[in-house]
């Protein structure tokens, strides 16, 4: 594909991410605006950082869910942190699942928590795939500035 086509693809991909509510356009665009000579791949760096940090939080959540009795307060706390983190890249679907999880926590519903957690992880993973392909496209289209 020629460069233009690639670039169009990138644009399309980006739009779809917003339309499908994977990402909040406002926040994502803000991140994009922060890209400059000093940080040409800022968005990708942030996303990478986010995913790296999420695994840490997931670990904590899983540990807490495995302990008996389950400390819902702690769970809620960790999820709250994760929710805040996911808001950094504007991950809408992920954030929604987090809210769901927190509801179950408040209700002390362990089953509900397990279920909601699976959904959080699912969305988290899906988004990752989407973003990875997006960044890949960008590189291919030469949209990523090189040093």
């Amino acid at each position: 594909m020629d460069r233009n086509q690639l670039q169009r693809q990138v644009a399309l991909k980006r739009s779809s991410l917003f339309e499908q509510q994977f990402l909040d356009s406002q926040q994502f665009v803000q991140l994009e605006d922060l890209e400059d000579d000093a940080n040409p791949n800022f968005v990708e760096e942030i996303v990478t950082l986010f995913y790296k940090d999420s695994s840490r939080l997931f670990q904590k959540i899983e540990q807490t869910m495995q302990s008996r009795p389950i400390d819902f307060g702690k769970l809620d706390d960790y999820m709250h942190q994760f929710k805040g983190s996911s808001s950094s890249i504007g991950a809408i679907k992920v954030k929604n699942e987090c809210s769901q999880f927190k509801e179950f926590c408040l209700a002390g519903n362990a089953e509900g928590c397990f279920w909601a957690y699976q959904r959080v992880k699912q969305e988290h993973h899906t988004l990752r795939i989407q973003l990875e392909s997006y960044f890949q496209l960008r590189k291919q289209a030469g949209l990523v500035r090189r040093f």
Partner: protein, 616 residues
């Protein structure tokens, strides 16, 4: 970039604004850093609240504004907020994913200039400079109004109005300003002096804060007012405006402590005896939140807050961590290290020895130092001095194991009761500790000859500690015993200090109580064996050490404690927990706090403790 606000940087203001960002989320930290840099601000990032405070303290006047997340792992964002407000008087902006009204309100109550919701927009960050600017303007205006108000006051003879005005808020001030029609009674010279003084942010050092607290206590909390305080403090370069704003914060802090206490009281004192350090930690942590950051600097030394004490027995290491965070405010700790110091006997030892030398030392040492009875000895001596009779009643009662949990320090705060309790030295026979003192027999105190109630024994007296030692050690050993709560403050110094670094705070009381307690303890057969000396030392340290040189400070601390209703009700102090004398010496002020915590005697009591001693 220049550090001064009104420096050449003004031209490009707000460019170069020095921002400190605190957030435990690395992703957000990076984003915010980038955003702020884009605004041409000078950014410093921090992942922990504690680190942030350290940075701020190290570089006083090194930052213009602080932006912090509400949920931090090591310290509640609101607490950090208070600390910053009290110690550094910087504008603080809170951030959170949670936009619930109650949370936002809490933020504002704690003094946040603004509350931003995540995800944060660039434009919101771009405008943060307005908070810095506004504060400067207000400061200048305050100076003016102070002057004019003062004039009005004189005219009207209503100093209270003035105080009230200051107390309530900038808005009130504004109204009072309007009141003034003034006059330019205060000539330009004064004004300009003030203005220029104003420009430089006042750093409330430990000494300064102590003077402040002392003045407050002397005047009487109800009647206190910026002008009176300023006059008493006798610090030439300080302006009324400085004092007024500091007073405001102090009051906020106290009221929060009060509330905490109330909450605590409702907990029901079940923890009396088995108060594990864990519990204490918990309490301490609560305390911390309560502790207003009054002026960490000033109270720095006092920070020993119970954290250390508490933890001491059980798990010094872990406690340290907790304690650090918890350190209450009352005594703004200029010294960072104190709070967490748990048991480092080595440290304690040295610190103890140097009570006179500095709070810092004390602080560090106090917290965990107990083990050295030798130290206690010396500390004791010092402690005596410092235990100004502020809490006299507490002290005395300390011996009584049953000390009623009511030794609300609050009341005490204003009462400087320098009761002879302190005069442990001879015949301390039970200074009537009203409280549930544990059987501390005064006779034991005799051994604490040096424990003179005079807080001002900066160290000279400490030497005589040998006598007190025994009692102290007893005291310390007597962790388990219920040292009357009253003693707690004092005891903490000596005895239960292991966990209590509050020794200082208690000031005189401590010394007294300590002596008494120690003696009592002995009589009781409390096994103070652990380390009498260290206990003593601790006590001394607690009370004197920081006080040794800082007698005033102690008193001040104490006052703070008082205000906070230090419930010396350590009654149920379980000294057993304080087996580690090292704890005792560490932080005099905190000792009290610690004591309180350790002795679950009464939740309400704890709350009291919390207030005073925890300096985060």
């Amino acid at each position: 970039m220049e550090s001064s606000f009104s420096s050449p940087r003004n031209d490009s203001f707000p460019a170069g604004l020095r921002v400190l960002v605190v957030d435990d989320d690395p992703t957000w930290l990076k984003i915010l850093e980038k955003m702020l840099k884009k605004c041409s601000y000078e950014v410093t990032t921090c992942g922990l609240a504690r680190d942030a405070l350290n940075l701020l303290r190290e570089k006083k006047d090194g930052y213009d504004i602080v932006v912090s997340d509400v949920n931090m792992p090591d310290m509640d964002g609101f607490k950090l907020l208070e600390h910053v407000g009290l110690e550094m008087d910087l504008p603080v902006i809170m951030m959170s994913v949670d936009g619930e009204t109650s949370r936002v309100m809490k933020g504002v109550q704690h003094g946040a200039c603004d509350y931003l919701l995540k995800p944060i927009r660039m434009k919101e960050l771009r405008n943060i400079w307005q908070h810095v600017f506004r504060k400067k303007i207000h400061e200048i205006r305050d100076i003016e109004s102070h002057e004019s108000i003062e004039g009005i006051q004189l005219i009207r003879n209503g100093s209270d109005q003035y105080d009230e005005g200051y107390f309530f808020s900038a808005e009130d001030l504004t109204s009072s300003r309007k009141r003034k029609d003034v006059d330019n009674k205060y000539d330009d010279k004064d004004f300009s002096d003030c203005s220029s003084a104003k420009k430089a942010r006042v750093v409330w050092s430990v000494d300064l804060h102590q003077k402040f607290v002392k003045a407050v206590h002397q005047i009487g909390f109800d009647k206190v007012g910026p002008k009176k305080i300023l006059d008493l403090m006798n610090v030439p370069w300080l302006t009324r405006e400085n004092v007024a704003s500091h007073l405001q914060k102090y009051r906020l802090y106290l009221s929060r402590l009060q509330k905490e206490n109330d909450i605590k009281s409702s907990f029901g004192g079940t923890k009396h005896s088995d108060y594990s350090s864990k519990d204490l930690q918990g309490i301490l942590s609560v305390q911390n939140s309560i502790n207003i950051q009054q002026n960490d600097v000033a109270h720095g030394s006092y920070r020993f807050s119970g954290n250390n004490l508490v933890a001491q027995n059980a798990d010094p290491k872990s406690n340290e961590g907790d304690i650090k965070g918890i350190v209450s405010e009352p005594v703004a700790e200029p010294k960072k290290g104190t709070t967490g110091n748990i048991p480092d006997s080595q440290k304690t030892r040295s610190s103890q020895m140097d009570f006179n030398s500095s709070y810092a030392e004390t602080q560090k040492g106090l917290v965990g130092n107990v083990p050295d009875s030798q130290k206690i000895r010396s500390s004791q001596m010092r402690v005596n001095h410092s235990f100004a009779s502020v809490e006299s009643e507490v002290n005395l009662t300390a011996f009584d194991s049953t000390i009623p949990a009511t030794y609300s320090w609050n009341k005490i705060q204003l009462e400087k009761e320098h009761k002879p309790l302190i005069q442990l030295n001879n015949g301390f026979s039970k200074p009537q500790l009203p409280g549930p003192q544990h059987h501390f027999q005064a006779d034991q105190l005799q051994s604490i000859p040096s424990i003179s109630s005079r807080p001002s024994i900066p160290g000279g007296d400490v030497t005589g500690s040998s006598k007190s030692k025994p009692s102290y050690s007893e005291y310390t050993n007597h962790h388990g015993s219920h040292v009357s709560p009253t003693i707690s403050p004092t005891i903490s110094a000596t005895d239960s200090f292991p966990g209590q670094t509050k020794s200082c705070v208690v000031d005189h009381q401590l010394s007294e109580t300590i002596s008494t307690s120690t003696s009592n303890m002995k009589n009781q057969g409390i096994n103070l064996s652990t380390d009498l000396e260290s206990a003593q030392r601790n006590l001394i340290l607690g009370s004197t050490s920081p006080f040794a040189s800082l007698d005033d400070e102690f008193q001040i601390c104490w006052y703070q404690g008082d205000c906070y209703g230090m419930n010396l009700e350590l009654q149920n102090v379980e000294f057993s927990e304080y087996t580690d004398p090292t704890h005792v010496t560490e932080v005099p002020a905190h000792l009290y706090d610690a004591l309180r915590f350790e002795y679950p005697c009464d939740p309400s009591e704890y709350s009291v403790l919390d207030q005073g001693l925890f300096i985060a």
